[in-house]
């Protein structure tokens, strides 16, 4: 039941682990990768939550577990107040209409043997929004116009389009069913700079029209800053810092966030950084995470306590949470 103060999506302590198996006759689990280790956040209508982090931090796994392309190992995924985490595939059909996903690479997410019209009518027919393909074509012509394409593109195949146009088609496919939540997994990473701006602008326009919530997954900090209302910065499966976008980008508190933001170059030659917080090394293996705080092996402020306990998330400012022993309430 929908009430006014209910969130569109609420993720509570979401966990996803993958077993690593070994052996030929007696296959057994030798280790576990905690790809997502207890993250919590929520998304309102017409708002965007940005999930940021470097490769291997678990951001894509988190997105896929939320939409149940992967089975979450623990935690709750509340869509309009109902937990879909334990639900079976069959029970999920009605939620599938509410939640859609757009992947990074439109070349591999569109079937090369289906025309745009065929690919886009599938969700319409499956969810009984239209009765037949003829009706579908009428709906789709309008839809293509709304993503900046032409109705005659319906009879073309994906290879006849450029990368940016393909991503428009993938976005059109996601919005055929008027979803209330769209998961965008690096939707602009494969695109050129001038096309990236087109797609981001398109996504903003669609959000206003559908009043949809976005989960925007990206490693590109500038894009996340532009599109997100709130962000969560991930490191080895956990949030190190989360909350209001401007607050985090303007004064990051966690040493990792500080290093990450300082490492990113800025398109202004006068702003060349002399990097004080440059961190060495690389992200440790998620199979063998350090004890205590996962970031302590690269952290310039590491203390004794950091090796013992993982720090709790504490709210240092209004809607600005950080998980670090340097900050105590």
């Amino acid at each position: 039941m929908m009430t006014d103060n209910q969130k569109l999506l609420e993720v509570k302590d979401l966990k996803k682990s993958f077993p690593i198996k070994a052996g030929f006759l007696f296959r057994h689990t030798v280790a576990t990768v905690m790809a997502v280790d207890g993250i919590s956040f929520s998304i309102d209508k017409n708002k965007t939550f940005g999930l940021v982090g470097e490769s291997g931090c678990g951001k894509t796994t988190a997105g896929r577990s939320i939409i149940k392309l992967l089975e979450p190992t623990g935690g709750q995924v509340l869509v309009n107040g109902e937990d879909i985490a334990p639900k079976k595939e069959r029970e999920l059909i009605k939620y599938r209409r509410e939640m859609q996903i757009v992947f990074q690479d439109p070349t591999s997410s569109l079937n090369p043997r289906m025309t745009v019209g065929q690919a886009l009518s599938e969700p319409l027919l499956f969810h009984n929004i239209v009765k037949n393909t003829k009706e579908a074509r009428e709906v789709l012509g309008e839809l293509l116009l709304s993503v900046g394409m032409k109705p005659y593109h319906l009879d073309r195949y994906p290879h006849q389009f450029s990368g940016g146009q393909r991503q428009r088609i993938a976005i059109a496919r996601a919005i055929t069913v008027d979803p209330s939540l769209i998961i965008l997994d690096e939707p602009t990473s494969a695109l050129d700079v001038s096309v990236q701006a087109q797609i981001i602008t398109l996504l903003k326009r669609i959000q206003e029209r559908l009043n949809a919530g976005y989960l925007f997954i990206s490693h590109d900090l500038s894009v996340v800053r532009f599109i997100s209302d709130e962000v969560g910065i991930m490191y080895l499966g956990k949030f190190v810092e989360t909350g209001d976008t401007d607050s985090i980008f303007d004064h990051p508190l966690h040493p990792y966030s500080q290093a990450l933001l300082e490492a990113a170059p800025i398109p202004d030659p006068r702003a060349r950084r002399d990097r004080k917080h440059l961190i060495g090394g690389q992200v440790p293996s998620p199979i063998n995470r350090p004890s205590g705080c996962f970031f302590r092996t690269r952290c310039p402020h590491a203390m004794d306590v950091c090796a013992k306990d993982y720090p709790e998330l504490v709210e240092m400012e209004k809607n600005h949470f950080v998980s670090c022993h340097l900050y105590k309430k």
Partner: protein, 346 residues
């Protein structure tokens, strides 16, 4: 100013395909001095990689250098010398191996594919050093260890025995850089060296390249699609689009007073990390396809400043200010007609 060590003049590199000719590089000119970082920036298919591959003699069939010259200042090939320069497009057969690796070295984007997975780091690093410096294995090993130390790889002695898969992406890129600088080249070419890396590792590699460049005083040609990385690294910037040089100037001019409509629009459409923006101004339209492209300005279909003249011919690359070149009939600002037009920054 001293003479440049590399002068690329009106370079054209074409690929003949069954469907027609792809003019991947079509009239590109730039120069590289000692101790200078030239940034080449452009989108996919703009010809930036093909430009530097031509400079390194790495264009294979069906590609060929169709025109222009690549003048390199060197003492090699006394027979081909002209005022101290050798035109690299005139080299035959394996003559190029005297230049590549030794005088001009290239670093590619993906460190996994540019190292051979079945040989150890020792084998791959020593091969280059022994081939070009003509020294024995023992001396070469000393050089190799020094190089790995220079690029900040811990335990260089043990790393020599590793296979590429045993190293992380950032470490592999460090090994590639070590191979690249091992023969102390006059020019180092880096083709998107940090694109495959995470942002914190990218920062490490960029800092490393800046330090090495300062130490070796070599020329660096740095290619990327990322304007932020260019702003960080380059002294001079060449903006490419559709195989052509669109604008060429020092980094401050390009970022602060761009004159070409493409450069200006491109800078306006990138999201910024350091400030909150309410909207982006995307450039409408698609990047050009290069197959049988018409002989017109490649940006024409997307350009808001096109004039009747643009529909007739390709604009030439014209000098409009101090070391500032623009290929446009209708650039921003007032056009300065330089009477004695000089070639790109000589």
């Amino acid at each position: 100013m001293t003479e440049p060590i590399l002068k690329v003049r009106n370079l054209r590199t074409y690929f003949s395909m069954a469907e027609g000719t792809v003019k991947a590089v079509d009239d590109v000119s730039f120069s590289v001095h000692d101790d200078e970082v030239i940034g080449i920036v452009g989108e996919t298919g703009s010809g930036k990689s093909v430009t530097v591959k031509s400079v390194c003699g790495l264009i294979n069939k069906p590609g060929y250098v169709a025109g222009g010259s690549i003048l390199f200042k060197t003492a090699e090939f006394p027979k081909l010398q002209e005022n101290g320069y050798v035109d690299l497009t005139k080299l035959k057969g394996d003559q190029f191996t005297k230049v590549r690796g030794n005088h001009i070295s290239i670093i590619f984007q993906d460190p996994m594919t540019s190292l051979n997975p079945i040989f150890t780091i020792r084998k791959q690093l020593l091969e280059t050093i022994m081939f070009h410096q003509k020294i024995d294995e023992k001396q070469a090993e000393q050089v190799a260890i020094q190089m790995l130390e220079k690029v900040g790889l811990p335990n260089p002695k043990e790393r020599l025995e590793n296979y590429p898969f045993e190293l992380s992406g950032g470490q592999r890129q460090r090994v590639i850089i070590a191979i690249g600088i091992s023969c102390n080249p006059e020019i180092l070419v880096a083709d998107e060296p940090t694109t495959a890396l995470d942002v914190t590792v990218q920062a490490q590699i960029l800092e490393l390249m800046k330090d090495l460049q300062k130490e070796y005083h070599s020329g660096l040609i740095f290619i990327t699609h990322d304007l932020a990385v260019i702003a960080e690294m380059a002294d001079k910037v060449m903006v490419m689009y559709g195989g052509k040089t669109m604008e060429y100037a020092d980094v401050y001019t390009v970022f602060e007073k761009p004159q070409h409509p493409y450069t200006k629009l491109l800078l306006e459409c990138i999201p910024r990390l350091d400030i909150r923006q309410d909207a982006l101004n995307p450039i409408p339209g698609q990047p050009p396809t290069m197959l049988n492209a018409p002989d017109l300005c490649p940006f024409l279909p997307r350009c808001p400043r096109k004039t009747a003249e643009c529909l007739k011919q390709v604009p030439p690359l014209e000098q409009i200010g101090d070391n500032h070149f623009v290929r446009c009939f209708n650039p921003f600002g007032t056009k300065v007609h330089v009477v004695n037009e000089k070639r790109a920054d000589e």
